[in-house]
Amino acid sequence: MTIPSRYSSLMELRHQTPQPLRSLAGVFTVGLVLLVWWFVTRGSIAEDRMLSPALLPSPGEVVRSFGSLWTERALLASIAASLQRVLIGFGLAIVVGVPAGVVAASWRLFEAGSAPFVLFGRNVPMAALIPLTMMWFGIDETQKVLFIFIACVPFVFSDTTSAVASVPDRYVETAQTLGASELQIVGKVLVPLAMPEIYNGLRHLFGLAFGYIMLAEVVNAEHGLGRLLMDSQRRSIPQHVILILLIVSLLAYGIDRLLLWFQRGLFPYRTVDA
C-alpha cells in the first residue's frame, strides 16, 4: 500500500504539521481518550462495569457532579482562596526577587554572594519546606502564603538575574558613551531591555506557584482547591477528584493566556511566541 505523496510529508522527521490539521490531531486524541474512558465505564450497574466507579466514574457522572461541587462544596470560595494565596505569595516573591535580581546582575559581586542560596533554593524539594514553614509561621494563612513565597523567590531571583545579564554589553557601552551614569544605565537601559524576558519568566513561574497550592493546603485550610481535592478523595467522591483536576488545569491555562495577552500589550516592540 502506498501513501499519496501529498500526505507522506506529514510523517517526515521534525516536519511542522500545518493548521488546521494540528488542531484536528489534538481533538482526535482527546476524542480517543474520551471514547476509551466511556467504554471502560459504561453500564448503569456498578458490578457490570470494566472499571469500578470508585476507581473511575464515567464521563457523564463527572460532568453531572459539577452542580454539587459548585453549590454544596462552594467551588468558587475555594478558587478564590487558592488564587489569593498564590497571588500574595507570588506577589511578595516578585517584590523581593525582581529588584534583588536586577541588583545582582548589575553588580556581579552580589550574584556571586547569593549563588549558594539560589542553588539551595532551586534544588531543595518543595514539600520539604512544609515542616519548616509550619515551625516558623504556624499553620494559619501566613504559613501558606510564606510557603509559596519561599518556594518561588529563588526562581524569580535567578530568572531575573539571567534576564538582566543577557542584555548585550553593547547597549551598556552605547549608553556609557552617551553620558549615562551607572544608575541611569540600570534604570533606563538594563531593566527596560530585560523586562520582556523578566515578565516571560514570571509568567512561567506563576504556573509553578499555582502548582504549590496543593502542598500549601495540606494542613488547616478552610477553603482552597488543594483542600477540596483531598477532601473529595477522603470522602470518596471520585467524580469531584477528576473534575477538580480538570478545573485546576483549565484555570492555570486561562491565567497563562491572560498574562500572555497583557505581555503583548505591555511590550508592543517585542513579539512573543505563545
Partner: protein, 289 residues
C-alpha cells in the same frame, strides 16, 4: 611614518610628528601605546597626534584588515573596558589621560544598538534625558535631528527600532550621538552591515552632517574606498599586532560618493593605498622572520 611610494596627486604623506601649535592641546594623542590580553598583543607601539584645528574637526579614517586592533584604538579613546586602560604607553584626550567613558567621546557601533523599548524619538533623546533636559525641549531637539539624518519626522519618530531597516537604525544611532555635540565621535565600522547602496548614501549623509558638527571623527573601516572618500587623514594599520603602517593626508570629499568613486584620481588613490598595504605587509612579514 613615511614611505617612499609613487607620488600621486592629492596624496601627501603627512609630515612625521605633526607638531600642534603650542597653546592648543591636541585632541587625541597616543604615545607608544601597546595593548596586550595575556600573550596576545592587539596593538603595538601606536603613536599619533591629532591636532586641534580651530573651529574644525578632522575626519580620521582608520583602515586595516579585520582583527588588526582598529577597534581597540577607538575603545581606548572611549575608555571602554577591557581594552582600557592600555598595557603600555599613554592615551591623552585634550592633554588628559582617558578616564571613564562619557558623552564627549560618543561611539557608534556596527551592531545595531538602538534601545528596543524606545521609539526613534526617545532613542535620539536618550543622552539629553540623561543630562536632565526637560521633556519638551528634548522632544523638539530630537525631532530636529531625526529630520537632519534624513528620516521622516511624522512617519518615523514614533516607530520602534524593530520596525526600521539597518540603514534607518544607523541614522538613529548617528542622530543620537550628534545631538550631544560631542567633541570626538568614534565610529566602529558603522556601515559595515549595510548593503552597498545604503552604505554610499550613509557616507554622503555623514559628510554633510560632519561639516557642521565641528567634531573630530575617528572612523574605523576595512573598506579602502570608504576611508579614501571620508578621511582627511588615513591611518593604515597592519594586521595583528596592529600598528600604524602609514599615515596620509587626503583632500576633502567634494562630490557624492557615487560620482567621486568614478574620478580617476580617486581610483588611483585607492590603488596606491592597496599597493602600500601589500608592500608593507610583505616587508613586515619578511622582517619578522
Amino acid at each position: 611614518m613615511t614611505t617612499d611610494g609613487p607620488t600621486i596627486p592629492g596624496v601627501t604623506d603627512a609630515p612625521a610628528g605633526t607638531a600642534p601649535p603650542a597653546e592648543v592641546p591636541p585632541v587625541v594623542e597616543f604615545r607608544n601605546v601597546t595593548k596586550r590580553f595575556g600573550d596576545l598583543t592587539v596593538i603595538r607601539n601606536v603613536t599619533f597626534t591629532v591636532p586641534d584645528l580651530p573651529n574644525k574637526g578632522e575626519f580620521i579614517a582608520i583602515l586595516g584588515p579585520s582583527g588588526c586592533g582598529k577597534s581597540t584604538v577607538l575603545r581606548l579613546i572611549a575608555g571602554l573596558r577591557p581594552h582600557h586602560p592600555a598595557s603600555e604607553g599613554t592615551v591623552l584626550v585634550q592633554s588628559k589621560p582617558v578616564g571613564e567613558p562619557g558623552s564627549d567621546r560618543s561611539m557608534v557601533f556596527q551592531d545595531y544598538t538602538s534601545f528596543d523599548n524606545r521609539t526613534v524619538e526617545d532613542n535620539v533623546a536618550f543622552g539629553l534625558e540623561c543630562r536632565g533636559v526637560g521633556a519638551k525641549e528634548r522632544r523638539e531637539r530630537a525631532r530636529q535631528w531625526i529630520a537632519k539624518v534624513g528620516l521622516n519626522v511624522d512617519r518615523d519618530a514614533q516607530k520602534y527600532p524593530s520596525q526600521l531597516s539597518g540603514g534607518m537604525r544607523q541614522r538613529v544611532a548617528i542622530a543620537r550621538t550628534l545631538i550631544l555635540s560631542p567633541r570626538i565621535i568614534l565610529m566602529d565600522e558603522p556601515f559595515g552591515a549595510l548593503d552597498p547602496t545604503t552604505r554610499l548614501n550613509m557616507q554622503s549623509l555623514l559628510v554633510d552632517l560632519w561639516r557642521e558638527a565641528q567634531a573630530t571623527v575617528f572612523f574605523v573601516t576595512h573598506s579602502i574606498e570608504e576611508a579614501v572618500y571620508l578621511g582627511d587623514r588615513v591611518y593604515v594599520f597592519s594586521s595583528a599586532p596592529g600598528t600604524i603602517l602609514r599615515e596620509m593626508a587626503l583632500p576633502a570629499p567634494h562630490l557624492p560618493p557615487k560620482e567621486m568613486q568614478r574620478e580617476p584620481e580617486f581610483v588611483e588613490r585607492c590603488f596606491d593605498i592597496r599597493d602600500t598595504i601589500d608592500k608593507l605587509e610583505a616587508s613586515t612579514r619578511a622582517g619578522d622572520d
